[in-house]
């Protein structure tokens, strides 16, 4: 079979008829979908930030009124933690590869950088998320001599750590490997 025959078989003219567009409405509809998508993302971001900014004054107030020193310290740690989490999550979200018009090789490189950042974030979840949050909560409970919720909090931390590690192992690492194979293929001269 020649190249031309192959191309002819590939370019099935029926495909052109199978896809029909209502040109009068298409761009309006696409606009409305884009607006809806952007609204969802804006709301999600606003929810995260609002929650963090509401929790912070709440924790500072709680620290002010709590008498045990340990509980006070725990509340202060939690208030700082709220802000750190928002900053970290926003920083990663900004790395999202948005420019799809890049050449494939460049796009894959940017995409891999984003995935690697996500992986490092999930791998270190113990230090920036679970550690500070569980320490803060634990100090509050220890300060008030409440040991049952303390144990529940610690178990929850272990569970969150396990879920994140599983996501790294089962989802992100295979995905990064897959993208790397594509980049390797494109960068070798064979």
């Amino acid at each position: 079979m020649t190249d031309e025959e192959l191309k002819e078989k590939w370019k099935n003219p029926a495909n052109e008829d199978e896809v029909s567009l209502n040109e009068d409405k298409l761009t309006d509809e696409l606009d409305s979908r884009l607006r809806k998508f952007e609204r969802i993302i804006r709301r999600r971001n606003a929810r995260e930030i609002t929650l963090a900014f509401l929790l912070m004054p709440f924790m500072i107030t709680a620290a002010w009124f709590m008498h045990p020193v340990l509980a006070k310290t725990g509340a202060v740690i939690l208030s700082i933690f709220c802000i750190v989490v928002v900053i970290v999550l926003r920083k990663v979200a900004k790395m999202k590869p948005d420019d799809l018009s890049l050449p494939i090789m460049q796009y894959l490189i940017v995409y891999r950088q984003y995935l690697e950042k996500e992986r490092s974030l999930l791998s270190n979840v113990l230090y920036w998320y679970i550690g500070p949050s569980i320490s803060g909560i634990s100090l509050i409970f220890i300060g008030f001599h409440r040991y049952v919720p303390l144990i529940i909090g610690l178990l929850l931390g272990v569970l969150v750590n396990y879920i994140n590690r599983r996501a790294v192992k089962n989802y992100l690492t295979p995905l990064i490997d897959k993208v790397s194979i594509g980049i390797d293929y494109l960068t070798t001269n064979e």
Binding site: V19, S20, N22, S101
Partner: protein, 161 residues
Amino acid sequence: MEELFLSTIKKNKGAIFRMCLAYTSSYEDAKDLFQEVLLNVWKAMGSFQNKSSINTWLYRITINVCLRANQKINKRKSRFLSADGMALESLQISEPHQKSYPELYHCIKSLSEIERSIVMLFLEDMPYKEIAEITGLTANNVAVKMTRIKAKLFNCLTPIL
């Protein structure tokens, strides 16, 4: 901008859909992917500069969207613009009357994702120079890779023919 978008999509809708078919396992998934491509092309339309031809630009977006969609292993909910669970009313894609040479799709799908994108661009009659602009390779490198990909493809097709 709207005019350029519509004329480009109208001219390339068949090619885009064929690419979507080659990156998915079902007709339904290909339809979703086609919509995802349209959404992303329309979203990027404002940033199109005449640095490259509109076709080069369009195929870059199409392939990047296809690759990205294919890599959503667990269909994780992401912050990427996707067409999950939505249908554009102004777009109709009918079931194929007659399957076009399914063996070719089968053999193309047996290639790696990147090989698939290169061979599809070749089958769409793109010159090596343009394939190089889309992939980020050099034209010489595209030629070398195409020779190997074609060998694989013919190897796969020969027992069927």
